[in-house]
């Protein structure tokens, strides 16, 4: 029975494997997320503000998201940091980059921030470098979901093997377990 379930799970995962699109993005593996990130932190959204950005090819709207930094898992950050995302709304004009993460005040996220400058999205893997943190109202434990709200059972599910919606009923992993996995991976990479 277990073998059959394992096979079924494997088949489901294989069926879900591929390239994520929104914007079409190849989902980075957990290892790539950690190694490509300049900083990795847990933050709470303090402010969201859109403004115009003039470019040689026209004008664009950018959204500046300010985070109160709770924990830093990789890199160095102060108590507050700001990230810049292409797209947003100003008055009656909106610019949407399909798939771009949207942040709201008070949300808590784990953010894998790329070291590239002037990017469409500052996150590694576009939207994949955002993981949502939700607090279990009964136990008070912080748990982790992917950018689109799927339960993240373990770091193995990050990348092309993203969980299918049918597997969304699994219990999300603890934030503390993700922190341990990230720190271990970052430490392993440093030792190489």
């Amino acid at each position: 029975m277990f073998r059959r379930l394992s096979l079924l799970t494997t088949l489901c995962l294989l069926a879900a494997a591929g390239v994520a699109r929104s914007t079409t993005v190849i989902p980075p593996s957990f290892e790539a997320l950690v190694s490509s990130a300049n900083t990795i932190f847990v933050g709470e959204v303090m402010n969201v503000r859109a403004e115009w950005d003039t470019t040689p090819s026209g004008r664009a709207i950018i959204t500046l998201v300010t985070f109160r930094v709770e924990e830093v898992w990789k890199g160095n950050l102060g108590a507050v940091t700001q990230l810049e995302f292409l797209g947003g709304e100003i008055g009656e004009i909106g610019m949407k980059v399909e798939g771009m993460p949207v942040f709201r005040l008070g949300q808590r996220d784990v953010l894998f921030v790329s070291n590239e400058v002037r990017t469409v999205s500052p996150l590694v893997g576009f939207m994949h470098g955002r993981m949502r943190v939700e607090r279990d109202t009964v136990s008070g434990v912080d748990r982790v979901r992917t950018f689109d709200g799927r339960a993240l059972g373990s770091v193995v599910q990050i990348g092309p093997q993203r969980a299918a919606p049918s597997l969304a009923s699994i219990t999300p992993m603890r934030l503390s377990d993700l922190a341990s996995a990230v720190r271990a991976r970052a430490a392993a990479a440093r030792q190489r």
Binding site: A16, V19, R21, S22, P56, G94, K96, S114, G125
Partner: protein
Amino acid sequence: MIARRRTLCGALAALTLCITTMESPRGFSLLANKWPNGTVTMHLQLGSGSGTLIDGSTNWNQVATNALATWNTHVDLVKFSAANDSTVSRGDGTGTNNVFFDSALYGRAFGNNTLAIATSWYNTASNNKIEGDVVFNNTKSWNSYRGNLRSGTNDLYRVALHEFGHLLGLDHPDENGQNVSAQMNSIIGNLDALASDDIAGARSLYGAGVTSNISFPPRNEPNDFYTQLIGVYQNELRAAQVTTYVDPEGVVIWLTEYARYRVGLCDHSTAQTRVFSAIDNTGVYGVCALTPSGTISFPPRNEGLDFMNALQVKYRDGLRRGAGSSYVNSEGAVVWVLEYLRYRLNGCGHGDATTKVFMQIRGQGIQPVCR
């Protein structure tokens, strides 16, 4: 034969059900904004340096044009128009819709894992789109092919289908709690065409939902006409039997459906797509517009024959039908069934229409319609 009837009955049942309800359980997911009704001109600036691609396309713009045309066959209120090799300037927030390759999105880095990005501009009060651009990452390997994903090269066609779906206003069903087969799912896979869920989503935004204002004859009457036509071909014209994959009932019903879309002002490609969608049970559409009053005109013979040839292929390769034989060849079927329907839709009863067609076959010329 039983299996054939079962398939046809299944398709007819679905047809009847959908025409009755014109609603299906919603599976797709929609973005907040859409285009106002009309034409959306896409400036295709992908260049011509592709060489011949795996699917036979000879340049990138052709692939994008095909993807736009595919969406067009399923929508009524908005149509993409492809401006090939357009030289308009590329820019964001300019009001023009650009499709091109670049290593960055208007000066901003894609990120290592990004294949393509779609951006939309819209009015926040009306939620009407005012601009949509798609930029493909030219640092990635591209081709165009059908079938399963191939290692090492990305299929521009299915990525374009997906991104243009976003431009229309479709979101990812799988990121909104749904588990459906769809090109609009967030993960690219072996699906190389639009699925019924994609089509249903697009039609929920831009389907006219027009019910034909033309009454077609009850099915038994064109069936009876076709039976008589076979007799005329066999006994009077002494026609030799030809190979066919479409049984007589299929000939009549699908030619009638094709005619229904054509007199409902659908173009040839749209009408064919919609008939095949009914055959596949992936959706039944309204016609494209109301038929103007006056004499009802019918499609030219070459287009009807093109449809009939495609129907033969559909039955042979899609429905896996075996070869049969008929005294009426495809051209005869198209010409005379459409003539019969033309008489019927222009005021003639079954007997009169049948007589008038047979007079034509016997060399007595085109007969006047009955109104």
